[in-house]
Every structure is written in C-alpha cells, then in structure tokens.
C-alpha cells in the first residue's frame, strides 16, 4: 500500500490557489495541522490567531459574514471542546460557511486525553446546520476540501496528517453523502450479505483487514466506508443495514455514544431494520496517552475487535488470530511515523 506524506498540506495550497476567498486561521498549531505550506504560499490570507480558540471561532464567523471562506486549523479536540458555544452561536446558528479542519481525531495521538477528540462527532452532529465529514485515507484528504466547498453552511472535517495510507484510487474522490462500497477479494457482494460492516476514518483500514479474513472463512461482508457522518442519508447505507442477514457492525475511532454508531442505530430504528447492531469504539470511557496501535487494541477499535463482533453476531468461532490479521499486510513498509511530533 502506498503512503502519502502530508497530503493535506499540499492539497490546501492547491485548493486555495484559485479561490481567493479562502483564508486560513490557526491557533498556534500551524505546521502541526499542515497549514504551513499555505501560510508560506499565501501569507496575506493566513491569520495567526494565537492560543485563543473562542475568539478564533467567533472571528471566523465575522469573516464569513463578509464573504470570506475561513478554514480553521487546530486539533479537533480544541475546536469542539474549547469553543463549542462559539461554534454554535457565532457560526452554526447563522449557517456561515466556516470550515473546521480538526486534526488528531480519536486516539490518533499519544498526547493523551487532553489531545484526543473522542466526543467531537457527538458534539458536531448535534449542531443544526453542521455538516460532518471524516477522512479515511489520502484520497479522502485530497478531496475533502472540495466536498466541503460545495456546502453552503459550516462543515466540520476530521482530518488526517503526516503519513497517510492510500486506500482508495485517486480517481475516486470523496463524494458528499456517498459511502464507498468496498469490495474485498473475489465474488460480488451486495444485498444479502451475512454482515454489514460500516467503518469510518482510520478504522476503515482495520475493517478491510477484518472483512478479508472473514471472507476467507466463508462469511460475506458488505463493507461501507462512511465519510459523510452527517447528514447520514445514503441509500447504499440504508440497504446494507436492512439486508444484512446476521446483523450490523460499526467500527469507529470515537465514543460509541454520539458518533457513527449512534447515527446508524438511529437510522436502523427509523427504518425498522430489526437487525442486531454492534457498536465498536470507545465504550463510554476516556483513553490515555500511548501509541495508536496499542490504543486501538486496548479499546477494541481494530480488526480483531471487528472479527470478534462478527463471531458474536454469527454465534460461531471463526478462529481468526491477531497474527493472521496482521499478516494481511495492507500497509507494508511505510515510512516511520513520528506520532510524538505535536
């Protein structure tokens, strides 16, 4: 698998080149959020706002009222927790086109509980007018700004930084309200799979691993990568939820309360699917500072957790080991990621 280095940094410069209304605001995390290339290329459209998220968010609302397109860059956790009221009243209520580029979603940082945005989707989904997007690979990162650009109101984006794997073809960019149906191995899936597996963000790579292993055991899996978390209106998703013979699994890098798992539960209830649902994510707990791999295993956000959820739905033992899943080498020899760099 290919790894792409700092895709957002490059994409932001490309995206903004012919859009002179695009301005970038940063709260002292400019290089950390890959806005440094933009700053160096379009200095007159870059605003250093200091460590002051509340003012930054309301200020962005003012800029947007005058026709600018502010792209706020900081860690997801600081956007959502430190400035929630400002986000709601200065931006979301007036439906202003401010884009919130939130980095370090969930447990993708060893920075610990203060830096881990594990409730951001719950907060952002609850705001009227807000569109919520999440990137799962480099192709998503390279197309998410264009997706947001077509939205007239505010958009919250869970961004990825650094060495980002490419899971999806460059020619197949993210589309608003359009889940990616992932095909694994031989055979055509679709309606009537044993299990529907919905994943988002970094968990999609884990989901692919689990789906491949399950197929080897004869279990059919309808796997969808969801990048538009809100609004969750997609006929592909509805069909997958209601046609999965044994049930639905959601795997996400977020609390099981308020994120994709909750959105799917709400949707299934509304549709009257009558299927079992297993929500995998942080089970109403805070995480702590450690490596991504360690945290994904510890909190059950990985492929093994998805396999175990499938076993639960199938009431069967599939004898898939962590070693087997790891051997499905989807991400070989990528450059080492220095996750400690804040």
């Amino acid at each position: 698998m290919e790894f792409v280095t700092r895709p957002h940094a490059r994409n932001l410069v490309r995206f903004a080149e012919d859009k002179l209304r695009v301005v970038v605001l940063s709260a002292d995390l400019t290089a950390s959020c890959e806005a440094d290339d933009f700053r160096d290329t379009y200095a007159d459209r870059f605003f250093s706002m200091g460590m002051a998220e509340q003012n930054m968010v309301s200020f962005a609302g003012g800029l947007a009222r005058e026709g600018l397109l502010p792209h706020i860059h900081t860690f997801a956790v600081f956007i959502c927790r430190r400035a929630f009221d400002q986000l709601a009243m200065s931006v979301a209520y007036p439906n202003l086109p401010v884009r919130f580029c939130g980095f370090l979603p969930g447990i993708t940082t060893p920075g610990g509980v203060t830096h881990q945005a594990t409730d951001d989707l719950a907060l952002m989904r609850s705001l009227p007018n807000m569109t919520v997007l999440e990137c799962g690979d480099a192709t998503d990162v390279e197309s998410v700004l264009d997706v947001a650009h077509a939205v007239s109101g505010p958009v919250y984006i869970r961004c990825l930084r650094g060495q980002v794997p490419r899971l999806f073809p460059v020619a197949d960019p993210m589309r608003l309200g359009h889940a990616r149906v992932l095909r694994h191995g031989a055979g055509v899936q679709g309606g009537g799979a044993d299990i529907a597996l919905l994943t988002s963000g970094i968990c999609t790579e884990e989901g692919i691993r689990a789906a491949v292993a399950l197929r080897k055991r004869g279990v059919t899996v309808e796997h969808l990568h969801v990048s538009t978390i809100k609004p969750l209106v997609d006929a592909r998703i509805d069909e997958a939820l209601c046609s999965a013979a044994r049930g639905v699994i959601v795997l996400e890098n977020h609390s099981i309360i308020g994120g994709l798992g909750s959105a799917v539960a709400e949707r299934m209830a509304e549709l009257g699917c009558g299927r079992k649902l297993v929500r995998l994510g942080l089970k109403d707990v805070y995480a702590h500072g450690a490596s991504k791999g360690y945290l994904m295993r510890k909190y059950g956000l990985d492929s093994l957790a998805a396999v175990q959820a499938a076993e639960e739905l199938l009431r069967d033992r599939l004898h898939i080991s962590n070693e087997e899943l790891a051997a499905l080498d989807l991400a070989p020899a990528g450059p080492s990621v220095k996750a400690e760099d804040l």
Binding site: Y42, N55, G61, G62, E66, L68, S90, Y93, P94
Partner: protein, 341 residues
Amino acid sequence: MSTADFGKVAGRSARSTGPAGSGGPDCPTGRSPSGTSGALPDWLAEVGRVALGIRRRVLDHTLRNNGGYLSQACSSADALATLYVRLMKLGQSIAPPVPLPFPGVPGLDNPAYVTGFGYNGPHEPGLDRFFFSPVHYALVLYSTLIEVGRMAPDGLAQFNRDGSSVELIGAEHSPGHEVTAGSLAQCLSQASGVAMARKLKGEPGHNWVFMSDGEFQEGQTFEAIAAMAWHKIDNVTVLVDANAQQCDGAMSKVMAIDPIVDRVRAFGGAAVEVDGHDPQAIVAAASAPVPGKPLVIVLKTDPCRGIPLLAARGEKLHYVRFKSAQEEETFRLFLDRMAGG
C-alpha cells in the same frame, strides 16, 4: 464583491473628527429637536431628546409589563443616543417600520432569512456598521430605534410576544441586531472578524460595538482585544456601558474588574474612560482614534440616571420588577412627570 480585492489590506480609514450632524441625510431622526437652550448645538439637544425618549419608553414598558431591563436604559440611553445621532454614519433604515414576525432560523431551508441589520441602514463600503453585544438591553435598543425614526412606535407592541422578532433578549433577526450575541462576549470577536474583512476589502466604513462591563469578566473579550491589536484591526470603536451592575448585583460584590481601561491597554488596545452621560465627552473620545489599535471607550455610567427613584432598590437593578403597588404607583407618577416635562 471582488475576490481580487482580498489580500490588499487597506490602511485605516480616515475618519472625520466632525461626525455627521443631526438632521443630515445619514441621521434620519424624523423629528426636530425640542427643548433646546440657546447655547446647545442642535445635535446635543437632539441627543438629549432621544435619551429622554429612551428612558421614558423603557419605563413605560416596564410599568405595562411589570418588569424590564430598566436600569440599563438609565445607564446607556445617553451613549446610544450619541451613537445614533452623532457618531455613526448610517444610511436610512431599509427595514419595515413595524418589524415582521420571527423569520425562522437561518439555514438551507430558509433562503429568505435576513438579520435585523436593515434598521441601521444598508451594508455599503462607506457606511458604518453597528454591533450590539449586551442584547438583554434589547428593549433599550428598540426604544432607541423608535426615537431616531428607524422603527415605528407600534413595533414595540411586538416586544416579547410569541412569534415576534422583537425578542426579550435580541438575536440577529431582532431589529437593529446583526449578530447573535446573547451568549455574552462573542459579539466583539464577531465584529472584529467583520472589521478585518472590511479592511481586506478596502472599505472605509467604521465599525461600532456596544458592550457592557460585565462582559470584561469573560476571557474571550481579552482574546479578542489581543487579536485585534496583533492584527491592527483599528476600524473598530467599542463603547462600554460601565454601570458596575450585573445579574447577581453590584460588580464590586460579584467580581470587581476595575480598572477596565488598564486591562484593555495591557492587552494591546487603546482605552479611555469618560462620563457616559456626557455626549460631548463621548464624541471627543471617539474622535481620537489610535492608529493600529482598537479603541475602547469605557463609559462610567449611573444605573439610576434619569430615574433616581431606582436608587431606592439598592443593588436589585439588573431586572426591575416592582415589589408593591405602592412602588409601581411611585414610578407611574414619575413617568407622568417625564412625559410632561
């Protein structure tokens, strides 16, 4: 707007030190000054008339409803009158004299939505903008709009009625409002964003923000001042009604934050303190901007000014509700004298 203009940061707009006088095309008062003494300039007499009218309307309304933000009218009437009559360069109101019902919230399914900015005239590059932060003073602002001929007196009949846009605590759809500021201290940040964008577009119009002193307990206010100083957002003037009152009572007992002027200066802003009941002092302060810095004019005000009966209530001034028929009658008699005199 031309996108090509972005990136071109205009220098601070040169503001006239002699703002538009009353009766000019930018100050549609709709009335002629009354009670002028020979020595008073016309605009000063007009400020006096408007300020008296504000206090009278708010007292009248408080009596009718047995409740209202009355002390805020007393403390801020002179400053708001000075802003509308003398300081702000606004166009004629483009909003309906009697406000339309609540237009629904902003959103994709409400494309016809507009804010209440139209009462302050159109948005034009050369015109000023007004941002009202302590929106629990909404009744005072509505009364001001009536006194300066921007809203019909009948508009106040909609105040705090279900389905009305003339809300108790104003939001951006309320007359004279253009941002949603009820969660206090967000207005200055929003206004500074507008002001920055206007600088980028090279618009010469100035931006006026009206605040209350309690908002200087919020950290966001000082984040905003620091950012405005850093980005040299000097096309903003902030008038602060320092009436030393807040919801729990006197600020000296809740959490004293004096001296506001020193605090603002420490964060990089320009600040000056004047008597908030002296229109000439307010105009003089506003006419001495400091290049590269936002100007904060701290108005020392009296929450009982013009209605001294209020002083008998001690520190229960934030929201006035009469405690007895006798107290109400005392205020009613006072209103009759105000109306007559």
